[in-house]
Amino acid sequence: MAERYSSFTPGGTGWFLQRITAAFLVVVLAFHFFLLHFVNHAYEVTFLQTQVRMQNIGYFLTMVLFLVTAAFHGVNGVYNALVNQGLEGTQKKVVLAVLTIAGVGLVAQGIYVALTMNGMI
């Protein structure tokens, strides 16, 4: 029995962060959808407007944070789902690595894109 548990508990933290990010995402995602589909219609989006929006530092930061939380939430969610399906051992480590790389890549690319949008690059 003793080998069943350890004091290292990634599960708890992951679970907790998944909830926290979810709570944050509710707000931003709703805002995002509203802004880009109902206030400004998606088919009218132009680089010009995007640039204008992104130059507002508050909006910019919100979007970056949105990206980071969504990426974490999504990737962590996928990871948990796979682990729940009984992923074990090396497989599990590989999946974790792949997902982490994908997540970090996504965030990096996203930030790069965001920076180009607000003209910093």
């Binding site: 069943r4 548990y5 508990t9 599960g11 933290t13 679970w15 399906q85 009984g86």
Partner: protein, 292 residues
């Protein structure tokens, strides 16, 4: 007539004040009553009276040639008022086929031996009225457990999971006889663990849980609930509670639960399992936050 007297003795609970706490499942049943569920049953009973009911029972026996390939056997059982699923299979066994095998003992929902998969749901045979079910009644062994024979499944894994959470008081044992005193516990605290302490180890919850089906090491709702009973009991010290939480927040512990609620729905003892699991998740997070 020397021994003829009013003898108000009683074995059963005269009046249990604790049963009154208007729990939600009880309320639910009362609602059903209001919704006419019960009248429906009366109608169905009247319909069935004098009829036979068809039960289709899963059969399998690794040792008997024509039962090695699982199959369903049909039994026509004469319906009597108040007949339960367990009554029906017992009738089928005693009258038609004495090799029909299933566990059962108390016939009153306390021993937890006869959880079956009846019409697609985990139910206690002795606590399920035939008249509440669609005909024909399909009776199978509990899903996600290996079938030993007919309706008998291997319960060892379930027992193992129950034992994993160290289901016993950890405090020192017996008080010295001189100071014969109980530990104090507030009625509120006792109330808090009341529902969790009603588990009869029937395994219905575990069998209904998709997660437990996919992950054999998942503690499962019953074991977590068992741990809840101890973790929430104030008679055990803080340190022991932390130890219990450590067991629960292991990889295959509480986090595995995806709040599917099917455990709570099938539990014949109306234990709010999901609620207990969720509470433990929060407790575990709280405990971890403290260390940050």
């Amino acid at each position: 007539m020397s021994t003829q007297q009013a003898e108000p003795e009683s074995q059963e609970a005269p009046e249990d004040p604790e049963m009154k706490g208007a729990e939600s499942p009880q309320e639910r049943r009362l609602e059903e009553k209001d919704d006419g569920m019960v009248d429906e049953r009366a109608e169905k009973t009247a319909e069935l009276e004098g009829e036979t009911v068809l039960i289709k029972v899963f059969r399998y026996d690794p040792e008997v040639a024509d039962k090695q390939e699982p199959r369903f056997d049909d039994f026509h059982v004469p319906f009597t008022k108040g007949m339960t699923v367990l009554d029906a299979v017992m009738y089928a066994r005693d009258e038609y086929d004495s090799s029909l095998t299933f566990r059962h003992s108390c016939r009153q929902a306390v021993c937890g031996s006869d959880a079956f998969f009846v019409n697609g749901r985990q139910r206690l045979g002795c606590k399920t009225q035939i008249s509440d079910l669609e005909q024909p009644v399909r009776i199978e062994p509990l899903p996600h457990q290996e079938v030993v024979k007919d309706l008998v499944v291997d319960m060892d894994h379930f027992y193992d999971q129950m034992h994993t959470v160290e289901p016993y008081f950890q405090d020192e044992d017996t008080p010295p006889v001189e100071d014969l005193e109980e530990q104090r516990q507030s009625p509120e605290n006792r109330e808090k663990i009341k529902m969790s302490s009603r588990c009869i180890w029937c395994g219905a919850c575990m069998s209904s849980c998709n997660i437990a089906a996919g992950d054999n090491e998942y503690l499962g709702p019953a074991a977590i609930n068992k741990a809840y009973k101890f973790a929430m009991d104030d008679r055990e010290g803080e340190e022991i509670k932390e130890h219990r939480l450590r067991i629960l927040e292991q990889e295959h512990g509480v986090w595995r639960c995806q709040t599917q609620f099917s455990c709570t729905e099938v539990c014949p003892k109306d234990i709010p399992l999901t609620e207990h699991i969720q509470e433990l998740k929060r407790e575990a997070v709280k405990k971890n936050l403290k260390f940050w």
